[in-house]
């Protein structure tokens, strides 16, 4: 039986790695991957807490998140691809049309 704290710790670390990846990387593909990592960190916590509390709700919630993440990844990659076709770059620093 794996202690729940380890599971929560793993989830938190995954979340932090994802968060830092989103914040500091400028490659949009990496950022989207980091976003997946973020979500999966949360999934681990959901699943771990569900098992710890002996409730299916955690796993169900995690499944929802996975489904949403899939759709999110599909839409996200489509946007990135479309952007790449116009600007021929992945770099978010070039994505500054909204700059005041």
């Amino acid at each position: 039986m794996i202690p729940v704290n380890l599971v929560l710790g793993l989830g938190f670390v995954l979340f932090l790695i994802g968060l830092v990846g989103v914040l500091i990387r400028k490659n949009m593909v990496i950022m989207l991957m980091s976003l997946e990592l973020l979500l999966n960190g949360v999934n681990v916590i959901f699943a771990g807490l569900g098992r710890h509390l002996n409730s299916p709700r955690g796993s169900i919630f995690a499944l929802f998140v996975i489904v949403v993440a899939v759709s999110e990844a599909a839409v996200g990659f489509a946007l990135i691809l479309s952007y790449f076709r116009q600007k021929n770059t992945y770099d978010t620093d070039d994505l500054n049309e909204l700059k005041g």
């Binding site: 968060l19 989103v22 914040l23 500091i24 400028k26 950022m31 978010t92 620093d93 994505l95 500054n96 049309e97 909204l98 700059k99 005041g100």
Partner: protein, 665 residues
């Protein structure tokens, strides 16, 4: 019947004025012009004959209503029905005047055929003459002052047109203007007088005015004021002091015009008007005295100026002024019929003199300076004969017309106690005889002083000119019989005939006194003639030249006509010009200044408005925009456009939110 009298010449005006200038031959123009006046004369004679028969002595013919009657409140608060009719009145006074105007007018029209034979615009000339005759007849026949005023202005207009008939000459054009403008001063007096009568009595009808004055409806002061204002009009029309200066200049017109307008008819309009309004003048009394004194002063004053003139027509012009002065003396001393008597005889002998002078001028190809005449008796015997008859008549030689009329006036002045007026009048009579025979002797006697050019063309006038002269000479000689005084066996027919129009002046003098006065004035006249004979024939003008040398100042005063023209020019003309300049200055400086000032004010205020618009309004609008830009300058730096910056902000916000939630719960 009598209403037709002024109509014939008016038809002549229309025919000659509209068609004559273009389509009529000379003969037709003459026939129309003379024929119109001839018919008018015939109508006058017919009306006169009818008046002599049994029937009313005063007839009024109303042709129509001019101003419909309406109630007006007059001075004193009474209500009167005031209206003006186009009405003519025919009575003995009008009969005498129409006969003189049409009779003498007819002769002058005939004479004009010869005198104007070489003129290019004869249709215009005869149209003017007919127009004048018509206007004069309207003046004479007018039953009220308004209709009279139509004629009064009409004759003034014709006078202007005819004086300036040869308008291409500056002197003629200016003389016409002078006559017209001087007359306007008098006419203004006439209008004011008529207006005063309307406001005092509510009527312009001469008969009603006379009745109202007679029944004491008007105060003495008002009557005097109205009479004096009307008399101012008379001084303008009849060339009396102070408005006489136009008449000598009016000699610029053709000589028949001088004879018709400025001797026989128009200038006597003032005399006629005063006689017509005699009840008003008599009621005032003061006005009558003024008339007498103005008359006698003018008579002597003009005679002195006639002494030194060298222009043959100007001598006659001053003589006319002087003789009209005598007429006013007659009116002023209350002998109205005597004034009219002199008017009639004067019309005969003065138009005779003018026409005879015209004959001389015509013979000399336009020469008017007596210094260039002399010795004409051999060349112009016919003209000389009638000229001498006229001169004897005006000089007051017994038996001729002027003697009786002038003597009746002077006798009336003496009888009514105006001794000073009488004495001055007597002196004037001596002067009259002297200057008339000076003219005769200078023109017809002595050496010939003709220009060779004029000598070459010298000719006696044609029959068409001599015939009217001869008729007038006969009238001037025997015209006095219409007023032959009682002491000489006559009945003074004229005074009796005019009785209903002008009243009767009974002479309080004994027949002996009357005869003595007559002898005195006859002696004075003959003395004047004898004096002229001595000075200008026997001594060939030497005493006159010596006298002029000795009394140079007085001589200069006379030749310069007492400097009255200069005075009027300075005071009246100069004053008017100065007023005009003042008005021009006022216009240029004050009015234009105000206008320009207003414009400048508008321009300046609009400049201010532009500044307000540009600086304040636009400033506020732009300021709002600029303020936004400045303020937003700081904020927009936040929008870096880098995704990770936004992401970081989200994270920070999330953390803060979570911290808050944690703190609260």
């Amino acid at each position: 019947m009598f209403a037709w009298i002024p109509l014939f010449p008016l038809v002549g005006v229309l025919l000659n004025g509209i068609f004559g200038i273009r389509y009529f031959s000379k003969r037709v123009v003459h026939a129309v012009g003379v024929g119109a006046v001839g018919l008018s004369f015939a109508a006058s004679v017919a009306s006169f004959v009818r008046l002599l028969g049994p029937g009313p002595t005063s007839m009024v013919k109303t042709l129509g209503t001019w101003i419909p009657a309406s109630l007006v409140r007059v001075l004193g608060g009474r209500l009167e029905a005031f209206g003006i009719d186009m009405a003519f009145r025919y009575d003995p006074l009008a009969a005498v005047m129409t006969l003189v105007v049409t009779g003498v007018g007819l002769l002058i029209h005939i004479y004009s055929i010869g005198y104007m034979e070489n003129d290019k615009s004869q249709a215009r000339f005869f149209a003017y003459l007919n127009f004048f005759t018509s206007a004069m007849l309207i003046l004479v026949l007018g039953a009220n002052l308004a209709v009279m005023f139509i004629g009064w202005e009409g004759v003034g207009l014709c006078s202007y047109l005819l004086i300036g008939f040869w308008f291409s000459r500056d002197a003629a054009a200016n003389a016409g203007k002078k006559a017209f403008i001087t007359n306007r001063v008098g006419d203004f007096g006439f209008l004011l007088g008529a207006g005063l009568l309307v406001s005092a009595l509510g009527t312009l009808d001469i008969g009603r005015i006379s009745e109202a004055v007679g029944s004491g409806l008007v105060g003495k002061g008002t009557a005097t004021a109205a009479a004096l204002l009307l008399f101012l009009g008379a001084t303008g029309k009849s060339a009396q002091i102070p408005l006489y200066t136009w008449l000598p200049d009016a000699m610029e017109g053709p000589t028949p015009v001088s004879a018709l307008i400025h001797a026989a008819t128009m200038v006597t309009a003032g005399v006629y008007m005063v006689a017509r309004m005699h009840i008003l003048f008599e009621f005032s009394g003061t006005a009558l005295t003024v008339v007498a004194w103005v008359g006698v002063l003018t008579a002597v004053y003009a005679a002195t100026m006639a002494l030194v003139q060298n222009d043959i027509k100007r001598v006659l012009a001053y003589s006319t002024i002087s003789q009209i002065g005598y007429m006013f003396v007659g009116l002023g001393v209350g002998a109205f019929s005597a004034g009219i008597f002199h008017l009639v005889t004067h019309a005969f002998f003065k138009s005779l003199l003018f026409l005879a002078a015209g004959s001389v001028i015509h013979a000399l190809s336009g020469e008017q300076d007596m210094g260039k005449m002399g010795g004409l008796k051999a060349h112009l015997p016919g003209t000389r004969l009638v000229f001498v008859v006229g001169a004897l008549a005006i000089a007051g030689v017994p038996g001729l017309s002027g003697f009786f009329s002038k003597d009746e006036i002077l006798g009336a002045a003496f009888a009514s106690g105006h001794y000073a007026v009488w004495a001055l009048g007597l002196a004037g009579a001596a002067l009259t005889a002297f200057y008339m025979f000076r003219l005769i002797f200078l023109t017809f006697d002595g050496r010939e002083r003709l220009d060779p050019e004029a000598r070459h063309h010298l000719h006696e006038s044609p029959r068409v000119m001599l015939l009217p002269l001869q008729v007038l000479a006969v009238l001037a000689a025997i015209g006095g019989t219409i007023g032959l005084p009682r002491v000489l066996g006559g009945g003074n027919w004229l005074a009796g005939f005019l009785r209903t129009s002008t009243g009767v002046a009974e002479s309080p003098l004994s027949p002996g006194a009357e005869l003595a006065l007559m002898l005195l004035s006859a002696g004075v006249g003959i003395a004047g003639i004898w004096g002229a004979y001595v000075v200008y024939v026997k001594k060939e003008g030497l005493p006159a030249r010596k006298l002029a040398e000795r009394f140079r100042a007085a001589y200069g005063l006379l030749t310069h006509k007492y400097y009255v023209d200069e005075l009027y020019n300075k005071v009246v003309v100069g004053g008017t010009l100065a007023l005009g300049r003042l008005a021009a200055w006022f216009d240029a400086r004050v009015i234009d200044g105000i206008v320009n000032g207003a414009a400048r004010l508008a321009r300046d205020s609009s400049t201010v408005s532009i500044r307000v618009d540009e600086d304040v309004i636009d400033g506020a609008v732009n300021g709002v925009g600029r303020a936004h830009r400045v303020l937003s300058g700081g904020l927009r730096k936040l929008q870096t456009g880098y995704v990770y910056n936004y992401a970081l902000a989200i994270v920070i916000g999330l953390v803060v939110l979570m911290a808050l939630v944690a703190t609260v719960f």
